[in-house]
């Protein structure tokens, strides 16, 4: 299956170190996931009205400049591309729907891996340490990052099958576990207009969240609904523009651990991935409870959508930095 990790820096002074701090977290999870690796890094937010697109191509020498020029002229806007290994980050102030349409029609061999104002997603087959180097992440600066190392269970080891999977603007998902009803759910989501690149169960979970959020539901509510609609074992870490969220299924067999200091909040499938962070020994360490959405960021989650239909109880954060963390427990039926 997998290893998942997430790091959110509370202390701005550490932002230049994000990439350096994150590497050992990802590498510690190599034995859990030797097949492929991926990260989503949140950095360098673009101005309002612009969008960043993470793109990937099978070859390492795709003509990204030509693609940027094409987008610029087709959408009558500005566009520039920064290539990194097999990926590129395209920034454009064009209308997003137009850009997506143009990419789909005129650049079908380019995969749209993610989009938003600050997220950049990179993922490839190969050992985590090599994937990390290929995307020059040691020097990366930013506010937060989530990552994934993959041991493919029932689908192929391909780049497209790697996590993180984008689920909306600045939203992406990494998953440890194995769903059991994803095939029917995929069909239903296809009927509702979503498209898929793989047979992967995690891609279905990501698309489910995308679909929910497109309907105007908050991320927290979408994750709560996932407890009803997804069957199987899962620990999710969702990257958001503000930080990350964590959810475990009700049976909660797939391990997860959270840790927090004044400087950072981290999550990982195993503590040893967190052990390398500064002051890890003194950190508050705890396990996320099953069926409970945890999230961190500059602003809290929307809480209004939670009351009512699901009977969810809003639970005040357990001791900790209550101002920027809220936990919601879902009462099981």
């Amino acid at each position: 299956m997998c290893g998942i990790v997430g790091l959110y820096l509370k202390n701005d002074a550490l932002r230049p170190e994000l990439g350096r701090l994150f590497r050992p977290m990802l590498e510690e999870m190599t034995s859990r996931g030797p097949d492929s690796a991926g990260v989503a890094i949140y950095r360098d937010p673009v101005a309002e009205g612009s969008t960043k697109y993470s793109l990937a191509h099978a070859s390492g020498d795709h003509d990204w400049q030509a693609l940027a020029d094409d987008i610029a002229s087709a959408c009558a806007a500005s566009a520039r591309a920064r290539p990194i290994d097999t990926h590129a980050v395209l920034i454009s102030d064009a209308d997003e729907a137009q850009v997506r349409a143009r990419l789909a029609e005129h650049h079908p061999d380019v995969r749209l891996v993610g989009s938003g104002r600050s997220v950049e997603i990179f993922k490839e087959t190969g050992l985590p340490k090599d994937v990390y180097s290929r995307f020059d992440l040691d020097r990366a600066e930013g506010s937060h990052m989530i990552g994934h190392t993959r041991m493919a269970t029932e689908s192929a080891v391909t780049t497209a099958g790697s996590h993180p999977f984008a689920t909306g603007a600045d939203l992406c998902l990494v998953h440890n576990g194995s769903l059991s009803n994803h095939n029917r759910l995929r069909e239903e989501l296809v009927r509702r207009g979503l498209s898929f690149q793989t047979e992967n169960d995690s891609e279905v979970a990501a698309a489910y969240l995308t679909w929910k959020i497109r309907q105007g539901v908050s991320l927290t509510r979408a994750l709560e609904d996932a407890l009803d609609d997804l069957d199987g074992f899962f620990t999710f870490c969702v990257g958001t523009s503000e930080g990350f969220a964590v959810l475990r299924d009700p049976i909660a067999c797939k391990h997860a651990v959270l840790a927090e200091t004044d400087d950072w909040v981290a999550m990982a499938t195993e503590y040893r991935a967190i052990a390398t962070l500064p002051d890890a020994e003194q950190a508050r360490i705890w396990e996320p409870r099953p069926s409970t959405v945890y999230s961190w960021g500059d602003t809290g989650l929307e809480v209004d959508a939670l009351a009512g239909a699901h009977g969810a109880a809003l639970e005040n954060a357990r001791s900790g930095t209550a101002d920027n963390r809220q936990a919601v427990t879902r009462t099981p039926h």
Binding site: M1, R32, M151, G177, S178, F233, C253, K254
Partner: protein, 440 residues
């Protein structure tokens, strides 16, 4: 209007609601209990009988019997262990518990396997001193229940077999009913005497191949990295399971198809969950080949292995060895027609007796009742088992020589053809008389 002269159509039984099915409906309605029994899937399934070997011809030359050697030895556990298992024959004895079998039966299995130069395996109940004493090579099962599990026995074992599932019930746990939980069995399993044992279907402290890798690390640390670690899986998703077992760090994979027996489980589980053994082998071998691990991580196939032809065919499809459970019991005397009167008294007949969970086996094998268990002479039964294993080995060698092989491992899929479309598709060999392999 009918008179005695009017021709009538014959009374017609339904193929859907046949005699067996209707009797089962009546039984369920009467008792409110699902049917529990032993043994493996009994219905007709595509199996090795649907494959045939292509013996020597003008293009291929056979080996002479006796003088021209046809090797049968196999080593299990070459990947990581410092002390792999060296077997004289490519047939092992599958895991069967003391508890489901009598002490005498376990001793007989050990004696028989020893004399044939192969291994036996403990079952879901722990290791008995008799079985350790009488088996030169003993594989110790590590199951979800962890009954009787302890580090001393782990260190006394020659290999460790982590059981994820078995062919009779992939996804199910063990089951032993109260009538077989006598004082000794209860003590070994830390259970009260005479109650029904409920067993977990998942391991208590790991779920998934990523966590399994850590569990294997722990077991290797406890046993000083000496012993091969086997992973046993029921035939369900053999391609993915084999790849994941390799990635978790297995030395050997034991793959058990739906014909694989059990001491006791629900009949519905045995007959309707899991794939036929024949369908499991090629996908597992393909996974090994894609990971460049074929012959480096060994594959042991079980579930309905009955004779040397089955052995040879499993090896030809890519297995390194096979394992026998049900066949070993039959060799020792299970379901012998000489007990027919007693089978009738139990409401069954020789060859059909599978109520092993009731523990009243006339042959003394699947029972804990002392008067019945003492009917089995471990020395004589052990000798019968050795005879049977040797015959299977000779049969496999005969076939291999006829195909021109100096070792049974050199048998390959190209030595086979299939009699039916299903068997051709499952075994990925051509339908006889054609070059057609359905599904490829």
């Amino acid at each position: 209007m009918h008179t005695d002269d009017t021709p009538r159509t014959l009374p017609r039984h339904s193929a859907t609601f046949d005699a067996y099915t209707t009797s089962e409906i009546r039984r369920a309605a009467s008792t409110g209990l699902y049917e529990i029994r032993g043994a493996g899937a009994k219905r007709a399934l595509p199996h090795f009988d649907d494959l045939l070997f292509l013996g020597a011809s003008i293009s291929r030359y056979p080996l002479e019997g006796y003088r021209e050697r046809c090797g049968t030895e196999v080593t299990l556990g070459t990947r990581f262990a410092s002390k792999p298992l060296e077997l004289k024959i490519p047939i092992t004895i599958a895991g069967m518990s003391f508890g489901s079998l009598s002490g005498q039966a376990k001793e007989a299995l050990g004696r028989g396997a020893n004399a044939a130069g192969t291994s036996t395996t403990t079952g879901d109940g722990g290791m008995t001193p008799e079985e350790r004493e009488h088996s030169r090579l003993l594989v110790y099962q590590y199951l979800p229940s962890r009954y009787g599990m302890n580090p001393d026995d782990l260190r006394k074992a020659d290999a460790i077999e982590i059981v994820v599932g078995q062919g009779a019930k992939p996804g199910g746990g063990g089951m032993l009913l109260g009538q077989k939980i006598n004082a000794r069995v209860a003590k070994m399993r830390s259970l009260p005497e005479g109650i029904d044992q409920r067993s977990a279907c998942r391991h208590p402290d790991w779920t998934g191949p990523d966590d399994l890798e850590i569990k294997i690390l722990e077991l290797r640390e406890i046993t000083n990295w000496e012993k091969p670690v086997f992973i046993k899986i029921g035939g369900s998703r053999p391609y993915y399971d084999t790849a994941l077992a390799v990635k978790s760090g297995a030395d050997v994979i034991v793959l058990d198809g739906m014909q694989g027996g059990t001491a006791a489980t629900q009949n519905v589980f045995i007959e309707h969950v899991g794939q036929p053994t024949l369908a499991c082998i090629r996908p597992a071998v393909q996974a090994l080949q894609e990971l460049d691990m074929h012959r480096k991580v060994q594959l042991v196939v079980s579930g309905g292995i009955r004779n040397g032809a089955d052995v040879a065919k499993a090896l030809a499809l890519g297995a390194d060895a096979v394992s026998v459970g049900t066949a070993a019991l039959i060799a020792m005397g299970d379901n012998d027609p000489r007990f027919e009167d007693e089978y009738r008294a139990l409401g069954t007949t020789a060859g059909a007796y599978d109520a092993w969970h009731e523990g009243r086996d006339p042959a003394g094998i699947t029972t804990q009742i002392p008067e019945l268990a003492s009917r089995l002479d471990p020395i004589a039964a052990g000798r019968r088992l050795t005879n049977y294993l040797k015959v299977m080995t000779l049969e496999a060698q005969t076939i291999a020589r006829a195909c021109g092989k100096n070792h049974v491992h050199n048998l390959e899929p190209e030595d086979l053809c299939a009699l039916t479309v299903e068997a051709a598709a499952m075994a990925r060999v051509p339908l006889a008389g054609t070059s057609w392999v359905p599904g490829t």
